[in-house]
């Protein structure tokens, strides 16, 4: 088994892990800071699937992570995952707060775009 496949499985296992808080911390620490697009993409997906306040904050308001990632592939995958959530309540709430209060304009603009998409999708 290749190294990347092992890491993919670890990310997937963390997404399903019972210790959700510790799993989110590990995904944030290792996954979102990875140099490899594929790992960041999978990490963003795993965090969004968790659909908790802590996990969504990482991918919605952190610069360079999730929907704000410099890689278009990672950003688009994150947006798609957000749009496919059944319960979008928490995500919309965080996006609204980000649009209103975030210090970085670029992050606010991205949040606004995604918020608009989610409005159309729901």
């Amino acid at each position: 088994m290749e190294r990347i496949d092992k890491i993919k499985n670890i990310i997937q296992a963390l997404g399903e892990h019972k210790d959700s808080q510790a799993a989110i911390e590990l995904l944030t620490e290792f996954g979102t800071n990875s140099a490899e697009d594929e790992i960041r993409e999978l990490t963003a997906q795993a965090l969004i699937k968790k659909n908790t306040h802590e996990s969504l904050r990482v991918v919605l308001i952190s610069k360079g992570k999730g929907i704000n990632d410099l890689s278009a592939r990672v950003a688009m995958t994150s947006i798609n995952e957000l749009l496919s959530l059944k319960d979008k309540t928490e995500a919309i709430k965080i996006l609204d707060d980000t649009i209103k209060m975030h210090s970085d304009e670029e992050v606010r603009n991205t949040a606004r775009s995604v918020r608009a998409l989610m409005t159309f999708a729901s």
């Binding site: 092992k6 499985n9 670890i10 296992a13 399903e16 210790d19 590990l26 290792f30």
Partner: protein, 150 residues
Amino acid sequence: MQIGKISLHTGKTGKTTSNLQTKNLTTNPFGVSFKGNVIQADVFESAEKKGITQNIGEKSKLFASAVVSGINNFNESFKSRMNSIVSFGKKITTNVFDTLERIGNTEITIDMEKVKNTIFPNRQYSVKQLANKSVEDLKSIWQDLETECI
């Protein structure tokens, strides 16, 4: 006519002589010629000394003694073989009982997870296996994989 000594050459039965030396003996009516040599068999003397019955008796005695000694030898070798087989069987039985006793007193624990992971090294990286590990363990595994990359 006097038949004094029919046997002209006693004590040397079956001995062949050359043609030249035995020319005078060709008158012997009992001489048997074989490839030009005369076999000088003294049939009368041997027939007088040992009768056929006596010969058979002696031969049967010899045969009987040979058979008896053969049987004795066979019995001895059979006994020694049997003894060695019996002692070997006893030894094996003792060893087996000792081993069984030892097994009975020994607790054997096999970690099947470790065995399976040894046989299938990728098994420990399956999502199911990883999800059962603690986050700390997953962190160390991930760290090792990142180090491997460097």
